[in-house]
Assembly symmetry: C2
Homo-oligomer: 227 residues x 2
């Protein structure tokens, strides 16, 4: 039997980095908001999974209005975000019911492939915690005060989401106190003593945080439409 | 007086990574081959600069045919590439005449901004060697055998081109023997004892090496046309 999965989609964007009024998760991509693409991507992968959407509470009304407008009828549980990403994920975890695995995913990464989700789930079932990564394709340099030096890029990876964990592991990890060094969920699990396994992500799985990203995203949506 | 500049554009691509017959530099972008965009970008920045185009010798005929077909009449010097990138750049350097600065640029980076070129030239005039870099926007991990750990991404940069040098510096650096660790020209200069200064690149300045890159590139060209 396939493991039961709950996906927590975290959409905390206030949109400041886009230079626009509208939070990133609501930006229009193709024919509807980014966040609807992301939710649908997971439910298309597995229509039986539970989805928890974590959104700032003051965006609930706007989101519901968008859902009416776009006739978006996906099934998910809406949970209020917290003061930080850590707090938001924690709120999401509190809403997770009985399941084998929890996937935690950025709301502004609508192009995660089914292969990436599947690889993360398979490895997390065996190893406890799995995150998708891609190779560094440019030359990499490290800055050290006034100096800088080349680092071997083949030893580095860029991290994406979903970050997938056995439910008990990630719930236990999030009982620890928040640290500012927690840039993602893998960092939280690691701080609690768990080991993270890296699996292959997909290059299109970009995080939409700049106008340049949105340009790429629209090209990707158009490309998918053309296929 | 503005410093005199020669740009060496290195187009050694055999196209293997694209899964297509046609070398990357000849792929169609908008209405013409990538390489024509790249050459024009530099000549638009400074119509008085000298351009040296380094191309595998067995692609000369095909390139000339493309130039006739697209009525591409830019002024540049055509030089045969060598067995490696190092050898190709060395051949290009041998063709460089009297000038203050040499910029070395990937033929498949047509979206370098004028700002990036200018910043590299200004800093290279003062400091000897300047290369454009951008920040790492994803979480970064380093692999160490079976383990992996988060690295502080704010201490790392991704390297682009053009890499700009005072002419005497880069010519002297390329007199040294080739090493396999030379992934770019900055590495060659560094091995010869010169210090590299990092300047701000531009995010659109992607290296077109995969179908995904070509998709982005076509979106960027269309975006420029729309402006």
């Amino acid at each position: 039997m396939a493991p039961s999965l709950t996906t927590i989609i975290v959409a905390g964007g206030r949109g400041l980095r886009m230079g626009k009024e509208i939070p990133k998760q609501f930006l229009s991509l193709g024919n509807r908001p980014v966040l609807m693409h992301t939710i649908d991507r997971f439910l298309s992968y597995d229509p039986d999974m539970s989805v928890v959407l974590v959104l700032p509470e003051d965006q609930f009304d706007y989101w519901k209005e968008l859902c009416r407008h776009y006739r978006f009828q996906a099934s998910y549980q809406l949970v209020a975000g917290g003061a930080s990403r850590f707090q938001s994920v924690k709120n999401g975890l509190n809403a997770v019911g009985d399941c084998d695995l929890v996937a935690i995913h950025d709301g502004v990464r609508p192009f995660v492939s089914f292969g990436t989700i599947e690889r993360c789930c398979n490895v997390a079932m065996k190893k406890g915690a799995a995150i998708p990564v891609i190779e560094v394709v440019e030359t990499l340099r490290k800055i050290d005060h006034e100096k800088n030096e080349i680092k071997p890029r083949e030893e580095y990876r860029l991290v994406q989401t979903p970050q997938v964990f056995q439910t008990s592991i990630i719930q236990k990890a999030y009982e620890e106190a928040e640290q500012i060094s927690f840039t993602d969920d893998a960092a939280v699990a690691e701080a609690a003593g768990y080991e993270i396994t890296l699996v292959e992500g997909n290059r299109e799985n970009i995080k939409i945080t700049s106008p340049f990203d949105l340009l790429i995203a629209n090209a990707l949506v158009k490309h998918e439409d053309d296929l």
